[in-house]
């Protein structure tokens, strides 16, 4: 009885010590890592990380972020077939700074020579002055990590997406680029066994860098008839930049209109190309009008709006409407 009681005490005691130790460690890592002496931290450092490694190296800990990034267009900014074609086999110098940035820091970056196939990768955005930067101050044993508030500000994205940034600033909408294109959810920064439990969950931005869908709730269509004219207006109601938007790419909205007579025969058609490169993109919260002269008697019109991204020839329908006099 005495012996079993002693064993029980030992086990409980050891358990309490372990829990206390883990709790203290958890507290130190997440709240007071500056108390941990540098000499102890140096033992955990991985010098390879500070040599601007490929994204695969980062995935050893940041597996979820890596998997998301692999699905993004940033990861294929150098290898995308469309980019290779449009840049004439990557020979156009104007494309290089943003497609293979050395370091993104709020203004147009310089292009880099190494690891070009990585495109816009971890190091491009997070490695500045030989340190890792992000939205949090963190104890990350393999590499020192420092908080930079720019990571949650649109200006950071505007280093490359300069035209879009200007468009967004003009709207004075508070939602940042990151709010829509990197929506946050609570999660663990690292998935490395053991370390992942010691780090508390934080708000993580979606590194797929979502393009976002354009729907009929975003672009409002209105039509009206006159004796010899048909009028259309489109309003970008919800997206706080031009639609579509691009600095150098060529995404487009196609507006197709067909006119039918009383017998239902098509008598005429019209088309609008709504594109940033043609300076016809839809600004935020502003009605854009189109007016079509009717050369023949028209009783009905069909209106279709389709979207084609810069990297594809495929169009997706946003809205379709039939309007009669």
């Amino acid at each position: 009885m005495k012996r079993s009681s002693r064993i029980f005490d030992l086990v409980v005691g050891a358990g309490l010590v372990a829990i206390s130790g883990i709790s203290i460690l958890y507290f130190l890592i997440n709240e007071r890592f500056e108390w941990i002496p540098d000499i102890a931290l140096e033992l955990a450092r991985d010098p390879e990380i500070l040599k601007r490694p490929a994204a695969k190296k980062c995935s050893e800990c940041h597996k979820d972020i890596f998997e998301a990034w692999k699905k993004s267009r940033h990861s294929i900014s150098w290898t995308s077939e469309t980019f290779i074609e449009v840049s004439e086999n990557r020979s156009k110098e104007k494309c290089l700074p943003c497609h293979i940035p050395q370091s993104v820091q709020g203004e147009k970056p310089s292009p880099r020579m190494e690891l070009r196939d990585e495109g816009i990768y971890c190091v491009s955005c997070h490695f500045i002055d030989n340190k890792m930067h992000g939205p949090y101050d963190l104890l990350a044993p393999p590499h020192p990590t420092f908080r930079n508030p720019d990571y949650v500000r649109s200006d950071f994205c505007g280093s490359c997406h300069q035209k879009t940034l200007k468009e967004w600033k003009a709207t004075q909408v508070e939602d940042t680029c990151q709010d829509c294109h990197m929506p946050r959810k609570k999660g663990r920064l690292t998935q490395k066994a053991g370390l992942n439990l010691l780090h508390k969950k934080r708000w993580l931005g979606d590194h797929r860098f979502l393009h976002g869908k354009i729907t009929e709730k975003d672009v409002i269509l209105e039509t009206s008839w006159e004796e010899k004219f048909f009028n259309i207006s489109l309003t970008n109601q919800t997206i706080p930049h031009f639609v579509p938007t691009a600095d150098n790419g060529d995404p487009r909205l196609y507006l197709y209109i067909k006119f039918f007579n009383e017998a239902g025969e098509e008598v005429d058609s019209a088309k609008e190309i709504i594109a940033p490169q043609q300076e016809t993109a839809l600004p935020y919260n502003k009605k854009i009008n189109y007016r079509y002269r009717l050369f023949d008697p028209v009783e009905k019109a069909t209106v279709e709006l389709k979207y084609q991204p810069a990297w594809s020839k495929e169009k997706t329908q946003i809205l379709a409407k039939t309007v009669s006099r």
């Binding site: 004439e88 020979s91 156009k92 150098n248 060529d250 088309k271 190309i273 490169q277 043609q278 002269r293």
Partner: protein, 284 residues
Amino acid sequence: MKFFRNLFITIAFVLFAVFPVQAKDMIVKEPPKSLSKYYPPESKQPKWIQQMHKMSAHFGGVFVNLKEKDFENVDKHADKLVEEYKKTSEMVPEWEEYFDIKAAETFAAAAKTHDIGKAGKASGGLGKTCGKCHAENEVSVWAKFHWPSFHKINVTDPISEKEIEFDDYMGSISSSFKGVTVNFGEGQYDRAAKALKIFKSRFMELKSTCSKCHATQDVKRFYVGPDADTAFAGLRQELNSEKPNPGKFWKNIGLLGKTGCKHCHLVHRTNSLIQEMWEQPEKE
């Protein structure tokens, strides 16, 4: 005697007539294929022009330092110039004959005397080799490597939504334009108005085409800018009115031609024509 005098006069006349013409002739020959590996896309860097700049820097460096009496650097630049000149002479085998290594070495030796007069005199022999190659090839090299090839650009025709070559697209714009002007001239204003829609759509597509090379908005607007918008608005207004005014119509056509077509053609057409010539298959 009379015969020889007349023969002499005839020959002199022919030579006099021919020689001035020949002095202004320039043959714009396509650069040798071996030069292509020193320019993008075959090379990541424009190595040929970088090599030209190196030689120019060392050549200039000799005289800058002679004037400043920095003779240590005179010697360094002289040696580097010979080194780079030799390297350049090996880069394009077809152009080997332009180079005179002896002239380069003579210049370097003269530079090392630290006598600016002697260096100047010796530079002539070297400079002639540069001048000859530039006179015979610089225009071709610029036309080939420093201007984009419009023949590589495909345009998606906004009307058919099919991708076509740039030259064919110019043909499409031209026919749409004729649809407007011919119908207007015939008094067929409705047809002209319909043709205007098509013409405008094709013309405005050029803004996207410009973006394939030009990154800045101002450059695009130089070619397809506010004047083109004004012209199209004016044309549309006339064609939609009860009695289109020919004066206003043709004024806007002129505005479009001057500020749209002409801007681009003036800048790009010459080089495009040169490249087009080179791309034609050789006649047997």
